[in-house]
Amino acid sequence: MARAKVEQQAAASGMTLIVMVGLAIAFLLFMAFLNVVKTGNLLTESNLLYAALIFYAGAGSLYLGFGVSGTESYVKFASLATCAGLLANTGAVFHRWYMAGHPPFASIYEMLLSFVWTLAALTLFAEKKFGVKVIGTVTMPVAIVGVVLMQLLPSEVRPLVPALQSTWLHVHVTLAMLAYAACALSFALAMMFLIQDNVETETFLAATSAAVSVAYGAIVLARFEKWGGLSLVAWDPEQKAEVFISRGIRLFVTIPDLGWLMLLVWAGVTAPLIIYAYARWRNDNGLIALADRAVFVSILLQIMALGMFILRARAGRYPSLDAEGLYATSLAASPFILSGLVAGIFVSLLYLMLVWRRNDLERLLPTADSLDRITYKTIGIAFPLLTLMIAAGAYWANRTWGSYWSWDPKETWAAITWLVYAGYLHMRITRGWRGRRAAYFAILGFGVVMFTFFGVTYLLPGLHAYA
C-alpha cells in the first residue's frame, strides 16, 4: 500500500524511488534482523523466504517505478534486486530440500516455492539473453503473489505419502515447473508485444478494468451475504486448518459490513469500464481521460478493500449462518480472495504505468516483430516440456494407480492446456497467424495453465490431490 504512494511521488523526481526502495528494503531487513536476533536462527526457510519477498517486492516497485518515471537506471537496480531475491529464494529451496530430505515438489506450498524460483531465474535469463528489460514488470508481481500465497499455505514438512515416493515425482514436477514458467514468460512477452504492436491504450483500459471487475464480481457474487456481510471460510488457529462441518463441507463465517465495502469497490473498479464503453458509444475521446482518473480512484478503493480485508480477517471472531457460536477466520483460509485483491491492484497499477510512460516503454522494448518471434520461441520451449510432463505423469500414474490415463480433472486440464498450445502452433504454422492473434492465443494459453495449476487443485479435486 505504501508502495503505491511512493511511486506517485517518484514520478516527479529522479533518484527518489531507488533511494526509497533501498531504504524500505534496508528497513524491512533490519526489522527482520531484530526478530532474528531475538530467536537466534538466521538461516531458516521462513527468513530466507521473507528476504526473497522483500527483494522481489523491491524489484517489482523499481520495475513499476521505471514504468512511471521512465528512469532507465531503475531497471538496473531492479534486476539487481531480482538477483538478490533469487539468491534468497535459492537458499529457501535448498533449506527446504535439506529439511524434508526430498526436492520441494510434494505439496502446493513446495510447488509454489519451485515455481517462483523458476520464474525469477527465467526473468533474469530473458532480460540478459533476449534483452527484454522490463519483463519483470509482469513477472515480478506474479512472483510476489506467489510468495505471499506461500506465507498462507500450510508449510510444515510432511513426510512423503507412499504414492509420492518415486523418482517420477521429480521428473514430472521439474518438467511441469519449467513448462509453466516458460508459459508465464510467453504470456509476459505477448503482453509486451501488444504494447509494441500499437494496441490502443484504451483497449488495455478495457481489458484491465474488465479483469479487475470480474475478480471483484466473482468475490461479491460468491461471498456476499444478507445484510452486507462477506462470508469466509472459518479457520481453526490451533489446528492450522479450515473448519469442516462434515466431510468436504466447509464452515463459513460472515464478517459484517465487509460485503458492502466489496460491493462498493466492485462498482468503483467497474466505473472505468462503463466510462470507456460510454466514450466508445459517444465517440468522445475526452472521456477516456476521465476513465483513467477513475482507474486511479479505483486503485485507492482497492487498497482500502485489501486493507480492510486483511484487518478484519486476521483478527476477531465472527458468527456463522450454519453453526452456533463465534469462529475465527484467517487470511490463510481465503488464499484466492487475497491473491485476487493483490493481483487486482497490480493489474491496475500496470495499466497506469502504461498510460503515463508508454513512450519510454516502447523505446525500451524490443520491436514488435522480435517480441512476436521470442513469444513463439518460448512456446516452442514450453510445448515440448508440457508434452514430456504429461508423458512422465502418465508413466508414473501407470506405476502408482494402475492406469496411465484416468480422466482425472488434473489430467484432463493438462491435456486441455496441451491442446490450446497445439492449436496455437497449428494456427501459426499452417495459417500464418502472427502478431496480435497469436499474442491473444498465448495469453489464453497462460490463463488455462494457471487454471490447471491452481484452479483444479482447489476447485476440482480428484486423484491428483497433493497439488
Binding site: S166, Y376, A394, Y395, N398, R399, G402, T412, A415, L460
Partner: protein, 485 residues
Amino acid sequence: MASPRSSFFSKFWQLISSIKTGVILLIVVVIVSAAGTVILQRPMTEADEMQRAYSPQMLRILDATGLTNVFHAWWFVTLLVLVSLSIVAASIERFPNAWRYFSRPYKITDAGFRRVLPTQKQIAIEDSEAALSAAERALQDSGFKPERVGNKPASLFCERNRLSEMAVYIVHASLLLIFLGGIIDGMFGWTGFVSLVNGQQVQKVETRAGAIKNLDFAVRCDGAGQENYADGSPKKWWSKLAVVENGREVLRKEIVVNDPLVYHGVRFYQASFGQTGQVEKLLLTATSKDGKSQDIGLKVGDTVQLDADSSVRFEKFIPDYVVRDGQIYTASTSPQNPAAELLVASAKTGKTVEVWLPEIEGFAHNSESPYLFNPRDLKMANYTGLQVSHEPGQWGVWAGCLLMAVGLATAFYLVHLRIWVTPVRDAKGTLMLWIGGASNKNREAFQDKFSEIIEKIQKELKQAQPRQTQSAKLVEEHETTLVGD
C-alpha cells in the same frame, strides 16, 4: 468421377482433411472435456452424492446425454475417432508433397529459382573450377559435406538436417500411435480389484465393468503390512505376492506402491491396505488359581487343553464392541474396542464358563473360571487391496510418447539448411559465383551463418595458393537454435 457418391466422398474428404475442421474438432474436445471435469462423473462419484448435487430431472437429462460419464460416452469416443481421422486425412493430403520434397531434394538451381531466392550472394570469379573448389573447402570448413552435382556447369549442393521437413508427420504419427494404444486398451484391456488376506490365493478377478476374469495363473498373498512415519502417517504399504502356475510357484515379489508385480501382461498394484476385522491370533497368559501360568496362542475356533481337566476355546471375536438392549454388537471392523469370548470347559463336571476379555457386565462370568486370562497381544488379519489391470495397448502409448519427443525435438530444434553454389554469367557476361541458402526456420540466425560462409568463401578465393591447415579454426557452431520465423 461425377457420380453423386464419389462427389459426396470427395466433399467429405475435403472437409475432414482441412486444418479448420481439425481445429474445430479440437475446440469441441476441449469444451466437452472441460465440462467433464466440472460435472460430477459417475465412475468417480457415489450415487447418493450425485443425487445430492443435482435435481432428479437434471440428473435424468445429464444421464441421458452421457454428461455424467463424458469420457466413456459413445459420442466422446466418436469425437476422438473423428480427430484421429482428421489427423490421418490431413497428413495423407499433405504427405506426398512433403515426401517428394524430402526424398528428391532440389539440388541443381535454375535461373528462376536463383532470381527469387531471398538469401543469396554473387562474387566475381575468374575460373569456375577453382572457385568451386574454394567454395567446397569453405563449406567443409563450416562442417558441411558439399557434393558436386550436374555438369556443364558443375555446381555444389549441401544440406543438413533434412529430417526436419518430416517432423510434423513424426509428431502426428506418434499421436496416432498413442490413440491406437488407447483404443486397444479400451477394447481388450480391463482393470479390476482383488483383496487378499495372508495365505489366500485367487485366480479370478472381478473387473470394474462387473465381469469375472479367469487368469491362467493364481496369485497368493504371503503377508502384507504398513509402515508408519513417527507422526503416524503412512510411509509404506507392502504385500508379498507369489504367482502360482499349474500348482507350481513361479515368481515371488514384494510389491509396494509405485512398484507393481507384472506377470503375463497382468499387473498387480498395491492399492489399499486395511484390517479385515478378523483376528489372526490372540496371545494370552492363563494363570491358574494356584499361581501357575502358561502362555497360549489361539485362533478363533481353536481349543487348547490347559490342564488335565480344563480346556479353553476361543469362541468369538468382536472388533469394536458396543452393548445395546442386552446384546453385543460391533460398531466397525477396525479393532478399536476389541472383545474376545472364551469358553472354559471342565471335562469332569461338563460345566462351561463364559469368559469375556474385557469383562463385559451381564455376559462375563470371569470369576467362575478356574483360570485368569491376561491378553498379551492381538494379531489382526490384514487384507491387502490390489488393483489388477491388463493394458495390452500401453506399449503403443509409450512408444508414441517417445516418438513424439523425437518428433517435437526435430520440429522445434532441427533446422533444415541448404546451400547451393553455381558459377553463372551475369547480364554483362561476367563470370560470377552464385551462392544461395535456405533454412526452414530461424531465419535471422541463418542469415548470420550465411554471411559467415560467404566470408569464408571469399577468403578461400583470395588465397589462390594451397590452403594451410586450418583445423584449429574448425570450430563448429552449435545448431541447437530454436524455431522462429
